[in-house]
């Protein structure tokens, strides 16, 4: 743990920390392009040059380890002059096409120019080296070689993280350019990350290009729901529309990365197929309900005398939803609850971030003692005529039974209630449909494949008339217990979960934070 002095301030940092990290610890950003904490040190951009006492030349902060007693200056005249000149060099052959560049607003070249350079160009426009623009190099990525500053973050990512090495540096000197190798496309399961780490507008994401100026976007912290890994993400959105996911660093889960499948999964949670309105089937016609009517119907079903009520809750649900759904049915005589977690046989997986379990919360079901295949027992009971009512909570019945069984279920059951975000086969046999919010529209938690509890937050408003499920489940439980005290937030529900479930004991919403916490090890 060396202690050193940076710009007159003393700081103690971890062994092996470099000077960029050490300066960060005191809130001092040393500008840099090629350095990325998830990649090897390249030392080529020369932007992070700093002055170190007893060293004649400026040193690159990224490749300099903080050592005991080191005295570093990151804002001396010499350093500022060097920064200014590196920026001038970077812009010598840069096209300065910011007005039409998609990176504008999140471009380190723009940012640092405004912070450290701000001089007129001394290089004639017509002498600039011309290179390729808008080169389609893969399904997700567009390349502009003129905007590229040759920091090689992309090539190092593809060499070191994916091991696929599709990109290389070609030519020499100021004719250097990044390109795909001949006959190769930048087409791997993690290709989107290169656009994230590109500090300039050289590599852009085709899915996002020209859809929004980044300064109009807002950002919310969440977790990808595309599979059981639960990569930490920021959701960039505007006016209730999601524009993109960006991976958010979590050393214990996804480092700085996420897969393309997860990155594009945001499209599922908006628009097409969403359930927007509570409805009831009255003779083969859908009758719209307001929420009071919808909940009254469900309350009546729960209270009605009959054989029994079955409920299936899927691993798409948050820990809070699972907890409240269990509690709701526990308050009903003769109820049967099963968990459900299903992934297609063709589900992709690898040794890195992509899990074959395409549900975000299978471990969360298990933690509340619901087997992921338990839903089938509920279906069997319904087929055997042992149930009056079946409540499908975010569960696609067609994943649990055949079409023929679905038909029989429709006949065998008195009522089928679907509480879900999207239209699906379950709705075909439903008598009551209550639309609920997706994980991007609510606060809550998922438990990932390593039993790490991680938060999702409400970043956009629930679509249409849908509502956060935890709220309506709370209201139903409230009616059941005749006004017993209810949590007023998802965080409150989580705290109640922690009190009543062994696996979660000792945790609290506050403890989960934005990096998540692991559940205690499973006994046995």
């Amino acid at each position: 743990m060396p202690t050193l002095e940076i710009d007159g301030r003393e700081v103690t940092v971890a062994d092996g920390a470099n000077l960029i990290q050490a300066a960060e610890a005191i809130g001092n950003e040393i500008p840099h392009y090629c350095y990325h904490p998830g990649l090897s040190v390249a030392g080529n951009c020369r932007m992070c040059l700093v002055e170190i006492e007893k060293m004649p030349k400026l040193q690159i902060a990224c490749n300099t380890r903080a050592t005991e007693g080191m005295v570093v200056r990151t804002r001396s005249d010499k350093v500022l002059r060097a920064r200014e000149s590196v920026l001038e060099f970077l812009l010598v052959n840069h096209p300065i096409d910011c007005p039409i560049c998609d990176q504008a607003g999140e471009c380190k070249l723009q940012d640092y120019y405004m912070d450290h350079d701000r001089q007129e160009s001394r290089f004639p426009l017509e002498s600039k080296v011309q290179k390729g623009k808008a080169i389609d190099i893969g399904p997700l990525i567009m390349l502009d070689q003129e905007r590229c500053i040759l920091c090689t973050r992309c090539t190092r990512f593809l060499d070191e993280v994916t091991g696929t090495s599709e990109l290389g540096v070609f030519q020499r000197g100021d004719h250097c350019q990044i390109d795909v190798f001949p006959g190769v496309a930048l087409d791997n399961k993690y290709s989107g990350n290169v656009a994230d780490i590109c500090p300039v507008g050289a590599l852009t994401n085709k899915d996002f290009r020209f859809r929004a100026r980044v300064w109009y976007l807002e950002s919310g912290r969440s977790v990808c729901a595309g599979c059981a890994t639960g990569c930490n993400i920021d959701i960039h959105h505007r006016r209730n529309e999601i524009f993109r996911y960006r991976p958010r660093f979590n050393a214990d889960v996804n480092s700085y990365w996420m897969c393309d499948e997860g990155r594009l999964s945001y499209k599922r949670y908006q628009g097409e197929g969403r359930l927007l309105q509570p409805v009831r089937r009255v003779q083969s016609e859908w009758q719209p309900l307001d929420w009071r009517q919808g909940l009254d119907h469900l309350e009546a079903l729960l209270a009605a005398p009959g054989l029994g009520i079955g409920g299936i809750v899927s691993a798409e649900s948050t820990n809070e939803e699972i907890f409240l759904f269990r509690r709701l049915l526990a308050g009903t005589a003769g109820s049967l609850v099963g968990g459900h977690s299903w992934s297609p046989a063709s589900a992709d997986s690898d040794e890195f971030l992509i899990d074959s379990d395409k549900n975000p919360n299978t471990a969360g079901l298990r933690a509340q003692r619901l087997e992921p295949t338990g839903g089938r027992r509920v279906v069997d009971a319904a087929l055997a005529g042992e149930l009056t009512t079946l409540i499908l909570f975010r569960t696609d019945l067609s994943q649990l039974c055949s079409a023929e069984e679905m038909d029989r279920l429709g006949d065998a059951l008195g009522q089928v209630v679907v509480i879900d975000t999207h239209y699906g086969p379950s709705v075909e046999i439903a008598d009551l449909v209550l639309p609920v919010a997706t994980f991007t529209e609510i606060d809550g938690t998922f438990t990932n494949r390593t039993r790490r509890v991680q938060k999702v937050t409400r970043v956009i408003a629930p679509a249409g008339n849908s509502r956060p499920a935890w709220q309506l489940l709370n209201e139903l439980i409230g009616a059941q217990t005749e006004g017993g005290s209810q949590a007023s937030s998802a965080a409150g529900v989580f705290d109640a979960l922690c009190e009543s479930e062994d696996a979660f004991r000792g945790l609290s919403s506050a403890a989960v934070g934005d990096q998540g916490v692991p559940l205690a090890a499973v006994d046995g």
Binding site: R46, F89, R122, L150, R172, G173
Partner: protein
């Protein structure tokens, strides 16, 4: 110095042949050293000789060898830097093409000293003939037991591989050379770690220049004190000087380290071509600051040339007579560095091209008034701020040419181009 050590092939005909080389006492030193001396003794002898690297930097060779970590379990490698590519430099080529067994014997000796069992000779791609000669020499040497397995029955093994470079100036930079040898783009590495700790294939590696290595046999044959007795105390030994440009007798000359530049030009080189007057000399290869005709009374050794404001470098001495256009000469150098910058570091990648464009403007007309100062500022901003010294190699001549011959540059600016060109055109 009458007796030639490094250029012995000039005195002994057919020295390229193994039997001639052996007949001239070749490989006797290797046999004796491998049988009788411990590796540490060899290193000590080289340390005591004061031998400094002839590749350009002048770093003490024995000390470099001593940097190898003692407890690293990885194999050690010896890399012979035969990528001679500094403009004005053609000394290593002489040894490679005419006395290859001297290089091989010294490679065996150095490898023994550092206990390396694999040596790569990285030879400049354009040296096709030199590579053939070396490959033949390695075959002969291995067949005769001077290299390969169990050399002289001592149990010491050394596999020598001749590797042809891919044709870039930057491959001569020792870490660029290592990357290239590994099959990658020759991007020089950020240091630390240095090659002695993390070199080729991530293993401890020593990189030595051909001429440097070729001093090892003479040192071990005649003793460190003999070597130290030649030339100045702090940079002793025989030295190869490459003379080119407007000189009567261009070529490679073996003289004691510290011979004066004036003596080299006027006595050994026969003076300036066609009886013209001297204008300027680049003493150590195209990368070093230029000296004016008034500055040639300097001893050609590492410390003296540095004290005179230039560098001994690789001893590629380029002579320019009174008719030389210094703007054009610098523009040609700038073109070389623009072409050869590997493009890794921002200041060099963008600065080398900028320098050439500014100089083209001066030479052909079209330069703005501020361009002369801009030229110096760009050079200043490139210096000392990159992974390797290629940026400095482009900046140093720029600064010295403009500073020492500023009136010529101003003249170009005033007249909108080169008056030499105009004279030639009107003649």
């Amino acid at each position: 110095m009458s007796e030639k050590i490094l250029l012995r092939h000039e005195d002994v005909a057919g020295l390229r042949q193994l039997d001639t080389y052996v007949g001239d006492g070749g490989y006797a030193t290797a046999q004796r050293v491998l049988r009788e001396m411990k590796p540490e003794q060899v290193i000590d002898e080289v340390k005591n000789s004061g031998l400094r690297g002839r590749g350009g930097a002048g770093f003490p060779t024995g000390m470099k060898w001593g940097f190898l970590p003692k407890d690293n379990p990885k194999p050690r490698y010896l890399l012979v830097n035969a990528d001679e590519s500094e403009p004005g430099t053609f000394k290593d080529r002489q040894i490679i093409e005419h006395n290859p067994h001297l290089l091989l014997e010294c490679t065996v000796l150095a490898a023994y000293a550092i206990q390396s069992h694999k040596a790569y000779i990285y030879i400049r791609g354009e040296f096709a003939r030199g590579a053939e000669i070396l490959e033949e020499a390695v075959r002969e040497g291995v067949a005769a037991g001077h290299a390969g397995a169990n050399i002289y029955g001592t149990g010491f093994d050394l596999d020598i591989v001749v590797h042809r470079g891919a044709g870039a100036y930057i491959c001569g930079e020792e870490t660029g050379l290592i990357e290239s040898l590994e099959g990658k783009r020759a991007y020089p590495r950020v240091k630390p770690p240095f090659p002695a700790v993390y070199g080729v294939f991530g293993s401890p590696t020593i990189v030595n220049n051909v001429e440097t290595l070729c001093c090892v046999r003479p040192i071990l044959e005649r003793g460190a004190s003999w070597f130290k007795g030649i030339g100045p105390e702090k940079s002793p030994g025989p030295k190869l000087y490459c003379l080119s440009g407007h000189i009567e007798r261009p070529g490679v000359f073996e003289l004691p380290m510290g011979t004066s530049l004036r003596e080299i030009i006027y006595e050994h080189g026969g003076g300036i071509r066609n009886g013209r007057k001297l204008k300027a000399v680049i003493p150590g290869g195209s990368s070093v600051p230029v000296l004016t005709a008034d500055e040639i009374d300097v001893a050609m050794d590492f410390d003296s040339v540095a004290a005179a404001g230039s560098l001994l470098g690789s001893c590629g001495t380029i002579v320019m007579d009174e008719d030389t256009c210094m703007v054009r000469a610098l523009r040609i150098l700038a073109r070389f560095y623009h072409h050869e910058s590997c493009g890794q570091c921002t200041p060099c990648r963008e600065g080398t091209g900028w320098l050439e464009r500014l100089l083209l403007g001066l030479e052909n007309g079209g330069a703005a008034d501020r361009d002369l100062d801009l030229l110096l500022q760009v050079a200043d901003n490139m210096m000392g701020n990159t992974v390797c010294v290629l940026a400095d190699a482009a900046a140093m001549p720029t600064k010295s040419f403009v500073t020492k011959f500023r009136s010529e540059f101003e003249d170009h600016l005033r007249h909108g181009g080169c008056s030499h060109h105009r004279q030639a055109a009107s003649a």
